[in-house]
């Protein structure tokens, strides 16, 4: 076999480096491809909320037959979809990236760590949005759920915004733990948060002490924000402060975990 090296030649005069925004999109594109190439991982997180709706909501006529209650149930599961997608994709994705020798290699390319992180956030957002599709379809096709279009649109925007603390929880897990531990930790975080936050069972059935704890959880706060917007009820005053408090807390923890990891691997 003969090998002819491509001429390195003279660099074109106008050859400038690609912009960070363009690179963020490039990272998003290939992370998205990497994620969809493992269909089980995608389908698992995407279908669970729709299946929950199908098995627990659709058969109960008093829920699925009532436009408002069915819409509330759908909104709850939409919050769950975004929460689990965030914690799983960010937590496991970051932990796996850190374990691969490809990650330090990418650090030798002529860009900082920004585009990779931006690409990751875009990827998580894309899968969170995709994760909303199956439960919405089930709700529209198989229940009486109904809400004005603008309420649904605002609800979707709010679900995504309320997903920010879960994104940060995911990043903290991913930067602190190994990939195996991250999988376990993501499960330990997501399911209790979902139950206690009233995403599977409506929180009005909770007793006093459980309701108090529940009110302080980010999952409950996200639910309390989204459900009334969709169904037209009043938003409890606790929801926004609780969500902001968790966001601030985990923004700080993410920064700590990121610096700790950088210090270990790239100091």
């Amino acid at each position: 076999m003969t090998i002819v090296a491509p001429s390195t030649g003279v660099r074109p005069a106008g050859g400038s480096r690609p912009s960070p925004v363009a690179l963020a999109l490039v990272h998003f594109r290939y992370q998205f491809l990497e994620t969809v190439r493992v269909p089980m991982a995608v389908l698992g997180t995407m279908l669970f909320p729709a299946l929950a709706l199908l098995f627990f909501v659709v058969p109960q006529k008093e829920v699925s037959g009532d436009p408002v209650i069915a819409a509330a149930a759908t909104a709850q599961l939409a919050v769950f979809a975004v929460m689990s997608t965030s914690v799983f994709t960010y937590g496991i994705g970051v932990a796996e990236d850190r374990a691969l020798p490809f990650d330090p290699y990418l650090r030798t390319l002529p860009t900082g760590p920004g585009p990779r992180l931006a690409g990751r956030v875009l990827n998580g957002t894309a899968f969170s949005l995709l994760g909303l599709v199956p439960p919405l379809l089930v709700a529209v096709l198989l229940t009486e759920a109904s809400a004005p279009a603008w309420r649904v649109a605002v609800g979707i925007a709010l679900v995504m915004a309320a997903g920010v603390p879960f994104l940060l929880i995911g990043l903290t897990v991913g930067y602190l733990l190994s990939s195996k531990a991250a999988v376990a930790m993501a499960q330990v975080i997501v399911f209790p948060l979902a139950f206690a936050g009233g995403l599977f069972v409506p929180p009005d059935t909770f007793r006093g002490w459980l309701d108090t704890i529940s009110t302080l959880l980010p999952s409950r706060a996200a639910r309390d924000l989204v459900v009334p917007v969709v169904t037209g009820g009043a938003i409890p005053s606790s929801a926004l402060p609780v969500l902001i408090a968790w966001t601030v807390l985990f923004a700080a923890l993410t920064a700590y975990a990121y610096r700790r990891d950088e210090g270990r691997r790239f100091r």
Binding site: M1, T2, I3, V4, A5, P6, S7, T8, G9, R11, P12, G15, S16, R17, P18, A22, L23, V26, Y30, L33, E34, R37, V38, L100, P101, F102, D103, P104, Y105, R107, T108, L109, P110, T111, G112, F266, R267
Partner: protein
């Protein structure tokens, strides 16, 4: 205007906890050189490369890549490095990985052209997880070349490859070097350095033990190990023989081991000395033994 040297390392020290990985290392690589970094595992080669790649910073001393701090992304536009073969994203196709890495550079080599250069055209649509070790290694080296680098750093590019695959990669590296790329390659195989490098830097224990043209270093490292049983009293006279650079005693048989730069001269001297020897045995010294001899030469 003289071009900035691709690599300038000056008085660099780097510790990991209690381990001194690099101890006051200085090294300048000039444009167009093909430098082999030779040393046993743990010698400090990879640490040195990680500083030049901008992955880590030195505890003291300075590192410059084309005159800039390698931690500045702009400095790395002219740099090409390889991922470890185990590090390729297994779900991405070969052409996707090349496109992805190429997207970071102002003027990347077109993917089809690069894959053809490395004989990977037929594998373009294969996921990297389905490639053989040798194919992955070729892709890894191809990735170092995608940005038309002026400097390429290769950390043990052919470790674990069979002879054919190794020669294919060596040919590729020589072709790129011939086209003007400066190349730094690390290895713990003397054979690899011999096949590629023009200038050899021997590193061990975090220090530069030798920095010289290939032929000169080969003369110093390509030692022979001469084992012989002689009466105890005559050992000293043998150490003074022509061509002998070091000695030890064989752990198993207790025979005298002479490390020789020129075994032929040493054997002739041994015969002429009329020392009553038995059990003469001559073989190539391992690189580790050669390093030991070099170390004692430096410290002694």
């Amino acid at each position: 205007m003289t071009p900035e040297p691709p690599v300038v390392v000056a008085g660099v020290t780097r510790r990991f906890g209690a381990t001194l990985a690099l101890d006051d290392v200085s090294l300048t690589v000039h444009p167009g050189e093909l430098v082999g970094l030779l040393g046993p595992n743990g010698a400090g080669k990879t640490t040195l490369l990680s500083l030049v790649e901008g992955l880590r910073r030195p505890d003291s001393g300075t590192v410059r890549l084309f005159g800039l701090d390698p931690r500045d992304p702009a400095a790395r536009v002219r740099l090409g490095t390889t991922p470890q073969e185990t590090g390729l994203p297994p779900n991405l196709r070969v052409h996707e990985v090349v496109d992805f890495v190429g997207a970071h550079y102002p003027d990347p080599v077109p993917t089809a052209e690069l894959l053809a250069t490395f004989g990977l055209s037929e594998l373009a649509r294969r996921q990297t997880g389905g490639m053989s070790g040798g194919q992955k290694r070729r892709l890894a080296v191809a990735l170092a070349m995608v940005g038309r680098p002026d400097l390429v750093l290769l950390d043990e590019p052919t470790t674990g490859l069979d002879v054919d695959a190794r020669h294919v990669l060596w040919d590729a590296l020589r072709a790129f070097h011939g086209a003007g790329t400066t190349v730094v390659v690390t290895s713990n195989y003397l054979e690899e350095i011999e096949a590629l490098a023009e200038r050899v830097v021997v590193v061990d224990g975090g220090r530069v033990l030798a920095d010289a043209p290939l032929g000169e270093v080969l003369g110093r490292v390509a030692l022979r190990r001469m084992t012989v049983a002689v009466p105890t009293g005559s050992v000293d006279s043998l150490l003074a023989l022509d061509g002998v650079v070091g000695h030890e005693s064989d752990a198993v048989s207790g025979r005298l081991v002479l490390l020789c730069a020129d075994a032929d001269a040493a054997v002739r001297g041994l015969v002429r000395s009329e020392v009553p020897f038995t059990d003469l045995e001559v073989r190539s010294a391992s690189l580790e033994e050669a390093f030991l001899a070099l170390t004692s030469e430096v410290s002694g």
